[in-house]
Amino acid sequence: MKDVHVTNAIRKYGLGIVVMGLTCGAALGGPVQAPAEAEVSDVASLAPDRPHRFFAGGWGSSGFVIFDADTGRMEGSVPAGYEANLSIAPDESRFYVSETYWTHGSRGKREDLVSIYDARTLNLVKEIDLPGRALVGKVQNFDLSASGSRGYVYVLHPASSVVWVDLKKQVVAGTVEIPGCALVFPWGEEGFSSLCGDGSLATVSISDSGSAKVTHTKPFFDANRDPIFENSFVDRDTGRAIFLSYSGLVYEAKLGLDTTVQKPWSIEQAAGYAAAGTGVQELAWRPGGVQLAAYHKASGRLFVLMHVGNYWTHKQGGTEIWVLDTKTHALLRRIPLQPVPTSGAADEKLPLYSSIGVSQDDKPLLYLLNPDGNDVVMDAATGEILRKIEFAAGHVVRVPGY
């Protein structure tokens, strides 16, 4: 009877649209004959152990999109506020987002947070209120200690400092001022280093009781003539660090309570060229981009986006990737990059790849981002392009194990 009633309703309104009640007939005991089964509305969770997972996001995006580079498919996304950054727990159980919101979009009360997400469900676990954070999109403005027990947030609001967060208790544990210095390069559980405007490294050790001690290395680079890129690297477990300068000098360091810095070597010299100068009309191969270099910890290989240009072209994207062995100071490979036209217009300025990441497993992949959202997954060993991924926005790429 109900079926008849329903059918009349459908005919009358010419739409054939009714809801689940149509199936009330089932209550009368009719057998199941439907060729397609009703579907449950459910929620996906993130698979564990994906070494070829990468996170892309940052400025201009509303979160970090998680891609599976082996399939090119989006696995999910982590929401993110203004000038956000993301760190992955070393055991990959949590994702941490440092972010800023205003309660009414771009006005209202400002709230700076470290937001904690479960890495399987992507559910929000906790928001930790921060006293402030630096509004600058640098990948080293937020990082974790080696075990993931502490988070370090760079603050420039107004003075240069670092807020450290106890991620076990999920509370802000303290603030340490680092005048003249910026960013965080963590080592072990004890502390972190920062780059300073006088050409030194600040060494910040924080005891379990929360007392911080700041010392400085001797100046070893010239912050005015040939500064070190913020996009430098530390292996949190060992303290081994790689600092790359605008002109292409690599400073290797062992960070810790007794930081040591080695004499630099030139990546241009490794390629058989003269070391690149700092003259405004000195053409040379130069590193450049946004997140312009990536480091594979296990092999010690450094991947740098390179272009030909004068000095002060350090933001220009790459036309080649240079693969360097930081143990032997040798250039292993140059991978040419072909920018992809997007508009078809003859006068289009071709978008160069401006950000690069590398997976940390033993069959590493390279992830290349360009500002127009045509990302590329590349075999790090051969330079072969494995797939392209259309993506909306973002300059920051993050990988598990870093």
């Binding site: 054939g16 009714v18 689940m20």
Partner: protein, 180 residues
């Protein structure tokens, strides 16, 4: 205003369905024809509907049943928004961390595999920012889509009523049962 038989049907179903929902009061007040409860039991039908004899829409003529990350996947005949299938979810699965709206809007789509009409519950996944999947995942189906004053058949409304946050992330299409 006299209520139409269609509205009465909707109300009756609403009352039945509200029994499955933890938000009974909300849904009862909404007074819409809707498909409630994010977790649906398997829904048997009394008898299989006959294949569709009426003329098909262009969407129905060209629909496919293989790739649910494309706008022309058959269940998306009236889908509007970003496909959750492109965002880490599936055709009836929210991406991790998003919440399926407890209620939905409704479409009727023809399955090209058996040429029968099915009722589809279009549930938005909510509480996260707009999914930033590529343009090919932005769909705007319009088969039998009606204006806002017929909300249960409108696909421009953010269908995140009753979820913790009504912020739209992406859209799913769950098969509910045979139509007619």
């Amino acid at each position: 205003m006299s209520k139409s038989p269609f509205d009465k049907l909707g109300e009756r179903l609403t009352r039945q369905l509200a029994g499955y929902s933890s938000r009974r009061g909300f849904i009862a007040r909404l007074g819409m024809t809707l498909a409630a409860a994010p977790i649906l039991p398997l829904l048997p039908v009394a008898r299989a509907a006959p294949p569709v004899k009426e003329p098909k829409t262009d969407f129905e003529r060209y629909a496919q049943a293989k790739d649910d990350t494309q706008c022309n996947y058959w269940k998306y005949c009236a889908a509007d928004g970003v496909l959750c299938s492109c965002c880490g979810g599936g055709s009836h699965t929210c991406p991790p961390g998003a919440e399926p709206s407890p209620i939905s809007w409704i479409g009727t789509c023809v399955n090209p595999q058996d040429d029968r009409s099915y009722i589809i519950a279009y549930r938005d996944c909510c509480g996260k920012p707009l999914c930033s999947a590529g343009k090919t995942c932005h769909c705007d189906g319009a088969d039998r889509e009606l204006p806002t004053y017929r909300p249960q058949l409108n696909n421009d409304i953010i269908w995140c009523f009753g979820s913790a946050s009504a912020s739209y992330h992406c859209s799913t299409a769950a098969l509910v049962g045979l139509a007619g």
